[in-house]
Amino acid sequence: MGNVLTIFRRELTAYFATPLAYVFIVIFLVMAGILTFFVGNFFERGQADLQPFFTFHPWLYVVLIPALSMRLWAEERRSGTIELFLTLPIRMTEAVAGKFLAAWCFAGIALILTFPFWVTVNFLGHPDNGVILASYIASWLMAGAFLAVGACVSAMTKNQVIAFVVTAALVFIFTVAGSPIVLGLLQGWAPEWLLHGVAQASFLGHFSAITRGVIDLRDVIYFLSIIVAFLAANAILIDLEKAE
């Protein structure tokens, strides 16, 4: 446990040691703002809630989260520090967990920094803050799932660009699977179980379920199991393919 904390601290500091952290946070906030106010018609809707803000999170994450996860293992492979790191007396689970938690915590920090949206909506009206809190939790859980996929992809390559592109493609598929477009395409000819399965496997369905204000344990378990599954795959991949 102590090792997880030590690795977590090193990784989190590593984000802030380069401009990556600041660039990421600024872009995230600016894009969230543009999408909420211009595309989401925050003011024109005349409703005191953050729905237009949260609606765009999955799509924002598709582009931005791979930038956080791409360095996790690819950078260690590229610089050769993976050999140093994995010959220290630590367990593979500690290494994987420490790295993932640092990235997840960083995503949490970026999310917390969107508090001006919350302040604004509370200033303008009387939103249901319970729903907003649930939506924040949903968003953070979804970010975790994206990051776990990204960490796993990063473990397979020493090229961060490849890690970025492959992760973005994977999480896009995961997200879009539950969108009305894909489900509409399937509707009418695909069997009910397939339609249901695709919708269930998608990030989007579970995310929007929570953002409606109901934290269903099944949605939480869905995201947590995605995280655990991809981190387990991450550990196995590193173990199999340490040198290259």
Binding site: N3, S79, L84, A243
Partner: protein, 313 residues
């Protein structure tokens, strides 16, 4: 302290390390020699638990690296090939991270970091990002990291690569000073380094151990062992050469610079016979030197041999 048992590593059809076994007791500095691609680094990666061997294992202070990796790794200090370190960190943060992972905190961590910083002389760069450091400093930060927990087994892959001659000398002194309490393996290309710090040398090529002995014993296998370097007025005279070559025990005579070099047959001393002959003939000898043998000769002879064809087994 360190026991290597029949290590084998193959990458597909390529056998990088082929049944390597040896033991390193406390107080020994083992020089691991071999041409590039001989399997030195691969062997070290297996001993330190980075690569899983195809067969065989390594026992570190009684712990099998395959079955008790954490306990074994606690006893190892390892400098990987190329001395990797996190480029964005300063040596101070980096060593702090290593100290925490090694289970030291607070006062104890500070004390241990202070000790290695003084030993390896990196105090003046402690607050610069590692990526901005010179090659020599990077290498020394890597060595400092390996020494932090005062390990029983020290495995250093090219510890002096990139250091200037003064720094090399210092690094060798550090290694020599630690020798009594540790089992140390260093890999190197520098044969003079083996002669300077190693109590034993292993030459490896094509993944196999080809020679194992003290540097002096290995040097004796050189044709320069007990050869005599001779400077005579008129030494290039064919007569002198012929007379020297006719002496019993002399294998060959060669011109070397201004003088001659007389190789002995089978490494038996010939200097007495040469001195007698010179006195008899009244040659003006201005220099006479017996050679101990050259490690680089032996190294080249052993490792330049064509790759042995794999046995049918």
């Amino acid at each position: 302290m360190l026991e290597i048992r029949h290590l084998v590593k193959s990458f597909g059809p390529l056998v990088a390390v082929d049944d390597v076994s040896f033991t390193v007791p406390q107080g020994e500095v083992l020089g691991f020699l071999g041409p590039n691609g001989a399997g030195k680094s691969t062997t070290m990666k297996m001993i330190t638990g980075f690569l899983a061997p195809t067969a065989g294992t390594a026992i570190i202070c009684g712990y099998d690296i395959a079955t008790r990796p954490i306990a074994a790794k606690r006893h190892i200090g390892y400098l990987p090939e190329g001395a990797p370190a996190y480029p964005d960190m300063t040596p101070d943060d980096f060593l702090g991270f290593i100290a925490h992972i090694r289970g030291f905190s607070g006062e104890e961590a500070t004390r241990r970091i202070g000790r290695v910083v003084e030993m390896i002389r990196i105090a003046e760069v402690m607050h610069q990002p590692i990526e901005t450091l010179s090659k020599g400093y990077k290498r020394r930060v890597g060595v400092a990291q390996a020494l932090l927990h005062d390990p029983d087994v020290l495995i250093l892959d090219e510890p002096t690569d990139g250091l200037d001659p003064n720094q090399k000398y210092e690094m060798r002194s550090v290694i020599a000073a630690m020798r009594p309490n540790k089992a140390i393996i260093i890999s190197t290309h520098l044969l003079e380094e083996v002669e300077a710090v190693c109590s034993r040398a292993i030459i490896i090529a094509h993944g196999r151990i080809l020679a194992d002995g003290t540097p002096a014993a290995l040097a004796q296998r050189s044709r320069h062992h007990n050869a005599v370097r001779l400077a005579i007025a008129g030494g290039s005279d064919a007569n002198v050469k012929a007379e020297l070559a006719a002496l019993p025990g002399v294998a060959d005579v060669d011109t070397a610079g201004d003088g001659l070099i007389v190789f002995s047959r089978g490494g038996h001393p010939v200097v007495g016979a040469i001195a007698d002959l010179a006195r008899e003939r009244g040659w003006t000898v201005s220099g006479l030197q017996v050679e101990r043998g050259r490690l680089d000769d032996v190294f080249r002879e052993i490792t330049a041999a064509p790759r042995p064809t794999a046995a049918a087994a």
